[in-house]
């Protein structure tokens, strides 16, 4: 399991390439039949308004702990080999990656379900807060929508 909070931009596909080379292919050669990945990216619109920028705040310490709890729950529930979870904080621009959730498993059912579970749990429990920059002023996002 690798869980990281980044205060500068990360590159999801490069991070996956590197993690697979460094960890997955080395530690689980021939065992990982299925990888499921989700990448969340900053949009330039939300609730009908144009968004020009975003600031992501978090609770250092608790955020990492809660993310690790969530991945741990997924490990209890599904058969997983490895997980990679990256989340951005700080000032973002449209098209910046916000979150990467990747899981590796022998079988696709475990990979799909665990990836989605981690993402939904993160959305409802991990202490991050989005402040959206509008043309005039800013606003805090009040609530994440349900993803199921």
């Amino acid at each position: 399991m690798r869980v990281e909070v980044h205060d500068t931009p990360f590159h999801p596909w490069k991070a996956l390439q590197q993690y697979e080379n460094d960890v997955i292919a080395r530690e689980y050669p021939g065992k990982y039949g299925a990888s499921a990945v989700f990448v969340g990216t900053m949009r330039d619109f939300n609730e009908g308004d144009e968004i020009t920028g975003m600031t992501l705040e978090h609770y250092p310490g608790m955020t990492e702990k809660e993310l690790a709890n969530i991945v741990g729950e997924a490990r209890q529930r599904w058969q997983l080999l490895e997980e990679l979870l990256l989340h951005r904080v700080g000032d973002l621009a449209p098209n910046d990656p916000i979150v990467l959730v990747a899981v590796w498993s022998a079988h696709r059912k475990d990979a799909f379900e665990a990836c989605r579970y981690i993402m939904e749990a993160l959305k409802s429990r991990a202490p991050f807060w989005k402040k959206e920059q509008l043309d005039e002023g800013y606003r805090w996002v009040e609530k994440n929508t349900d993803g199921y």
Partner: protein, 77 residues
């Protein structure tokens, strides 16, 4: 006893500070800590509470030295 209080996001802006050190009686819940830190305002329904970086009920008792955090619904991902 003394506990450390933290506020985040919109709540931090509303409170005008990111936290405080609060002196409170020996038996106190997280909700009592809120009352002391907010100058007597009731704890809003949608505010989340964590003690020592774990989610908990506002009625949970706190201990000296605890870190008690209050924050709005989370919106990451």
């Amino acid at each position: 006893m003394t506990v450390r209080v933290k506020f985040f996001a919109s709540l931090k802006e509303q409170m005008g500070c990111d936290g405080a050190t609060v002196e409170i009686g020996e038996v106190a819940t997280a909700a009592d800590v809120w009352l002391a830190a907010s100058g007597g305002k009731a704890l809003p329904n949608n505010v989340l509470v964590a003690v020592n970086m774990e989610y908990c009920d506002p009625n949970q008792e706190v201990s000296s030295g605890d870190e008690v955090a209050f924050f709005p619904p989370v919106t990451g991902g």
